[in-house]
Symmetry: C2
Subunit: 408 residues, 2 copies
């Protein structure tokens, strides 16, 4: 079960002026589930995207990048679950483009104004007949008050729908931000088998929005890992409709900073929700590495801990077998690490220092922290001023079960 995470109420996901969402049950892979989503934004919206670094990126990712580059003004997004359209060669690209044409015809826009997204099984082709047939019903139920349905329509192995909203005032105008995400396994920075869509009605320049999405993703989706697998399909899209009535926000203004903070907070909540709903997760772990020489080395240590199956299974068992954390720190790749000057904390408890168990440490203290469902692991390297934080979950029987059964 997800760790301290439940689906938002429909009323908690606030409409964003100008953004409409419509879904369909198109039987992409399984019957009777929402599996097609169309999102539309008005003319002159700003839209930015960040995508997977996987060399085997899916066909829709390639098409998204091309369409964003053409700057025709993005007007619609099409998402399907059930099939990732990845590892599908030229046919996959043709299919992704054909879906854009389908949406364009239904909305009377051009195909270059459509961004396509797919998530699901790799190495299989899209069921084009069913997907194209799903576009009309999705377009038919487009409305602003449809975010929870949209969040449900993009789920794959997710147990709960993920979404959140924020409101702030800019230029005396109420600005709304609402975002949804999906993802549960094949989750790794850069980015995750995840899709994320965040919309705001703020007016903001394209350049400013491009800056914000990079900042937001670095502080959120690039800080999470479930299993260390980087997906072929990861995409995060940030949309701004400009209908809130504020003056257009430019880079580095006070309003820019405030909107960036709010959008980043939404991204962090959506990213953490993915970890809390990590496949088989029973615990949510924050790995905080402090006082390193560079953010990069802090991230190396944090990810060595966050990726270790031995550590993740020990957390699943609530077993304070903390030597495994020391081992991971030791193999994280810091060549000149002095193990005698660093400290390891579990929650507030000092576990190790001077290369070994802290004199004050009692196993009962570690065991008590391990009983919590949200656990902080703190590593203080004592060799610099840089920090990094990574969020991950434990590794349970159910992770194996889910991934051994996923296709069947």
């Amino acid at each position: 079960m997800p760790v301290k995470l439940s689906a938002p109420a429909a009323s908690a996901l606030l409409p964003v002026k100008g953004v409409q969402l419509g879904f369909a049950q198109a039987h992409i892979r399984k019957p009777n589930r929402k599996d097609v989503l169309v999102i539309t934004v008005p003319e002159n919206s700003s839209v930015s995207g960040v995508f997977t670094l996987n060399r085997f990126c899916a066909a829709p990712v390639t098409v998204c990048k091309a369409h964003l580059k053409q700057q025709q003004g993005i007007r619609a997004l099409l998402v399907n679950t059930g099939c990732a359209n990845a590892g599908t060669g030229q046919q996959g690209l043709d299919d992704a483009l054909a879906t854009c044409i389908g949406v364009a015809q239904a909305l009377n826009i051009s195909p270059e104004q459509v961004l396509p997204f797919s998530t699901g099984v790799i190495l299989e082709s899209l069921p084009m007949d069913r997907l194209l047939a799903g576009i009309a019903p999705a377009v038919a139920n487009l409305k602003e008050d449809n975010w929870l349905n949209a969040a449900e329509a993009i789920m794959t192995t997710d147990i709960v729908a993920k979404g959140t909203s924020r409101q702030l005032t800019i230029d005396g105008q109420s600005v709304t931000i609402t975002g949804i995400s999906k993802g549960s396994g094949m989750i790794h920075p850069n980015m995750a088998t995840m899709l994320g869509y965040i919309a705001t009605d703020a007016a903001i320049s394209q350049a400013a929005l491009d800056r914000i999405i990079q900042h937001a993703v670095n502080k959120s989706f690039n800080c999470i890992t479930v299993d260390g697998d980087t997906s072929t399909n990861d995409s995060l899209i940030l949309m701004a409709t400009g209908q809130a009535g504020n003056a257009v926000i430019e880079e580095d203004s006070a309003e820019f900073v405030r909107l960036q903070e709010a959008l980043t907070a939404v991204a962090v909540e959506l990213a953490q929700a993915i970890v809390r709903d990590g496949e088989g997760a029973t615990k949510f772990m924050t790995i905080q590495v402090e006082a390193g020489q560079s953010e990069e080395e802090c991230r190396k240590v944090a990810y060595a801990i966050a990726h270790s199956p031995l550590i993740k299974t020990a957390f699943f068992a609530s077993d304070p077998n903390l030597g495994r954390i020391l081992a991971a720190i030791g193999y994280a790749g810091i060549e000149d690490l002095n193990v005698n000057t660093m400290q390891l904390y579990l929650g507030d408890v000092l576990v190790a220092e001077k290369g070994g168990r802290a004199a004050s440490y009692l196993e009962a203290q570690g065991a008590a922290v391990m009983q919590e469902s949200d656990i902080l692991v703190r590593v203080v390297l004592n060799r610099g001023a840089a920090n990094a934080t990574v969020w991950t979950c434990d590794f349970s029987y159910d992770y194996v079960k889910i991934n051994a059964d996923y296709r069947s």
Copy 2:
């Protein structure tokens, strides 16, 4: 259960002239199991070692390196299971040295002539009273015909004892090689939570033996992974007693090459045995990456596949969900990889080419290969002449169970 692996018969592990082995039940962690091993070699033996690169290396590793450097002529090895003496600070170093003194007194040699080894739980101190008390009974039953007992005495979560022998003729003399190893989890190159001891009665110079151990470890223990965790205690020791009667082998002679081949074959068999007995393993996978630009990039791809929990769970389920392999190839870190020119084979079956599923591929073919317990995954990068091979196992419920329960 181990994948096509059973313990060797006692008679299959051939005595090596000059090497004696003795064990004890010292209740290091659990009662009634062999957990202390002493190995002795005669004067003027050559001994080489390769050790973990983990910065949090265990105290005995530090002591081993120091003693090998002092070149006093290694005469004895002491191994205990149950406690790794890692993450134990200065106390751990003092304890490791004290065990060397204990063995030295029992054998009338100097402490610098003793190499200590520990494996087991990290972050706990050695139970020195019980360990020191175990030395006398182990020394009392030293004999040449004791290799299977020795293999059993170094097991931790291993299900079966691991050992093998080879014989060859050099200078008309019969030369024997016998090796044992342990390891099952926390297995990763450089090296593994593994201990390996290989002895030969061949006469060989120290320089030549140092060359051979590097070659052997690169072709064997540095090619295996179970869970990607690099242990604090990994050690491989190569001993040559010189009692076979051959002329001393120097580097790059024909005899050097033959002995290197035979010793490497023993190392490969011992390394593969660790994977076959990998925690929870039900399948043995050979990941062979061919036609890369460098061995390094081939290894990157091989390890990306071998470490992916998603791939390992799919193999556990015998599910030919092979898109996950494409995803791993895509995130392995080759920046300029052209996914349209590479091929993926499962056994003899061409699965993917031209960036997608091969036209000839039938799911039934993949499913048939997945039913085997030994599976070859072949990636042909078609961008160079370099190759690399990695051996690994699948990821099952039992991996989680074993590692969630290990300490309790």
